[in-house]
Chain length 270, copies 2
Amino acid sequence: MMAAARQAIGIFDSGIGGLTVVKAIVDELPRESIVYFGDTARVPYGTKSKSTIVKFSLENVEFLLRFGVKCIVIACNTSSSWALPTLRKYFKVPIIGVIRPGALAAVRQTRSKRIGVIGTTATIHSRAYESAIHRLDPTVKVFSQSCPLFVPLVEEGWLNGSLCRQVAEKYLEPLKRQRIDTLILGCTHYPLLSKTIQQVLGPGTVLVDSAQQTAAEVRGVLTGTDALRDGLGHPRHRFFVTDEPGHFTRIGHQFLGQVIGSVERANLHV
Amino acid sequence: MMAAARQAIGIFDSGIGGLTVVKAIVDELPRESIVYFGDTARVPYGTKSKSTIVKFSLENVEFLLRFGVKCIVIACNTSSSWALPTLRKYFKVPIIGVIRPGALAAVRQTRSKRIGVIGTTATIHSRAYESAIHRLDPTVKVFSQSCPLFVPLVEEGWLNGSLCRQVAEKYLEPLKRQRIDTLILGCTHYPLLSKTIQQVLGPGTVLVDSAQQTAAEVRGVLTGTDALRDGLGHPRHRFFVTDEPGHFTRIGHQFLGQVIGSVERANLHV
């Protein structure tokens, strides 16, 4: 076994939503240590331009590399959409985004070959899901919709109720009319709206999020590089954020599915 | 007349909303040149913590000082709420926030001495308006409400309609029950929701925004330091943003009330 096996998996996100990906990775690979970085001082990324998203993502990877991580997972859909090619060009460490895994899960799922994608403005604008789906199956029809109000709704905690329902209807009706049978939840916040989204689309549409398939891909990459951690005692998870940790610590359990221990403040510019 | 008179007024905001303050200053002082800085790469500030808001605000002032501005206006309510005392401690240039002017306008307006304040989570949490109002009149009762969904609504362009109305009702009903007669729109985005807010509160409540009174205060400061620009030819307005200028240029006219000429990209770290 290589020395890398003892090293942690690095995961970054624009903020807190990436904890849903952490959860899937912990479920899939419970022996792995994790260093999580959430850029809560500069969140959101989904309303920003490509060059800014790429710049921030480069800085985030540099931060994680200080911990000697053996691979990096971009939990953020927006960053995966715009920054992955540049990050792979700049860094040697294996880097895994959430777009291809989400696209793969959706292509495996669809029967009608009509897939919907929802995400931030930047993610939808990048057409990254569309490209990834068409590389897997060029015959699939993809229908995309940005949903800028979904993240604020989740952060406000309005996950159900008539207001949430109305916003969801406004965004999803066009996709429903296209008779999609599969919808990619292309933002880490959206799984928290699953119930409402499912109600609007009806039982005929399957919701797909990237987290589980991304975790499977992380397993694949670590297996392929002989870097899986196995039987080395308890893993250690560390969480870093760029804004004050209070809010992250308080609401993080909603995304992680368990209480977060200590959260440290990251300083990007050292 | 001092040399300072030829210099520009520096104005910063977390993003685009501060253009409503620029508009008021241009109306009040049409001969003054302006350097505007919008931190569009790190927007919003209203969901962030005090230390992050102070750090960003310090960097923004440093950027404006490169242009030798004769005074600085913090157009952002959130930044004015949390960062003004620190900025005044660090820098000699006169610095004007929007909180005291807004409080003054409201205290002059109210008859019932029951004033409502709406703003971002950070602004409301700071209790800055409450303090400013009580310094002017300790007998006024202040009722505050953060409205996290208002900025995303404005940026989505959903300024009217039933959804906007419902969100406004959800936030404003508690203030209405307190029988306020004056409401401070404590965020530069909120004047774009004036119509809906007025409908929800009814004709008995007067909406106050800080922009006009802030412009009056800028005149006062410049007069007091003998730094008013007068009869020196055409003023020059420059706009800088930290994200790509495209979006700012496209939607800025909604806030500024006129087309924005050229917008340049600012580099904070040089």
